[in-house]
Symmetry: C2
Subunit: 244 residues, 2 copies
């Protein structure tokens, strides 16, 4: 994913789109492999698009497709693909009709939202009409969370769904330092399962959430049982030689 | 910045460190230019570190320096710099003392937290002892937000502060499409000021927050006045020929 916008890098806006896309893709069995955030700089946007679209099956972008001068994504995508950018006839019609119905001027600024690189297919915007677009394996969507979410829901539903990634969470009352060694052994035994270890700190002491993830239910369950057995063993060891 | 961790890409954890660092850097007058999020894959981490440390003045990382098998950042940094990774004597001592005082075992897993690439300088961890480290212009910090924040506060305070970026926000009751044209003219007139336009959608209609940013107070103020004059003109135009 590529999130675009100065406001994300200045701290003014705290991004909510990355986490949303991550959730939706996980449910669809598609792995999110990398995210980048770049400023409203066409050269930087184009470079990131080319790096990511070459490397991954899909690239999803958020932001920079509105009507103002700092909305540069359509031009940057055109630059990345080496194609001209102009009004997309269907997008133009949709927007023209949208504003006519509302008795609002279809200003030059609003017309910017109809601009796409040559060859783009539109992505429906059920919230506020101005469409996103798809070029090859790149899905260009709005940055406003309500619109991004609606576009993502449509786009991801249209992609081939992978086998869903299943996960099992096991609460561990000990800190990571108590379990790091034996947990690495459990991980080494279950190579098709990815076990994550997430420390929690309540201000005084650590606990850990252990999360096993796999596309295979049996293997996941086997790993989960071994994690629980490991926790019981660590707990006994910590209790040491104290009589029961 | 580079945020490291499978959990950020699966949606399990919603990142809070990017926004925090963005805020702190903005206050310090340092521009955050790019963020990447990668999984717990040493090759990917090392590649991102090398790309970002070559391109920018500083690189800040979060995550992957704990005691478990999925904490791979120290090794990835060593790989990126082409240096071996081993116990840092001061870090080892600090941690040994920390656990001895708490009558906790200094397990092999906990010892992992003393591992740094050769030549690293430590970053103090006032929250839970296990230090971060600095290699050249790369600051390697924890992913747990309380610890990341404490480390960032120390690190950023130690950097030369830039002239602070000042900002002025102007609420615009119209959608971006109404102001995109004239706003671009204001932007063209004030080249040393960056004007951002942030649409807000309340479910029915759009408004816009306009934010001008500059390191020069006079130029910022001049741009702000022109934005306000532009909004008055647009408002009059929208009211059209209706009698006052």
């Amino acid at each position: 994913m590529l999130a675009i916008g100065d406001e994300l890098l200045s701290g003014r806006t705290k991004d909510r789109n990355i986490g949303y896309l991550a959730d939706v893709l996980t449910l669809a069995g598609i792995d999110l492999k990398e995210v980048r955030i770049v400023a409203d700089e066409p050269v930087d946007i184009a470079a990131a698009i080319n790096a990511l679209r070459a490397r991954y099956t899909y690239l999803f972008t958020s932001g920079g497709i509105g009507p103002t001068h700092d909305d540069m994504t359509a031009d940057a995508v055109g630059q990345a693909f080496g194609v001209p950018v102009g009004y997309h006839p269907t997008a133009y019609e949709l927007l023209e009709k949208h504003y006519r119905q509302r008795e609002m001027d279809f200003t030059l600024a609003r017309k910017r939202m109809a601009r796409t690189p040559e060859g783009a297919l539109l992505i429906d915007n059920p919230v506020s009409t101005a469409p996103g677009f798809k070029m090859d394996n790149v899905y260009v969507m709005a940055g406003v969370p309500a619109v991004f979410q609606a576009m993502v829901n449509n786009v991801v539903a249209s992609l081939p769904q992978g086998p869903q990634i299943l996960s099992a969470a096991v609460f561990c009352p000990f800190g990571e330092g108590d379990i790091g060694g034996p947990l690495a052994q459990v991980q080494a035994k279950h190579k098709s399962v990815v076990i994550g270890s997430y420390p929690k700190f309540d201000g005084k002491s650590y606990s850990t959430e252990l999360v096993a993830r796999s596309r295979n239910e049996q293997e996941l369950e086997a790993a989960r049982l071994d994690i629980e057995a490991m926790l019981i063993a660590v707990g006994k060891e910590k209790a040491g030689s104290s009589p029961a």
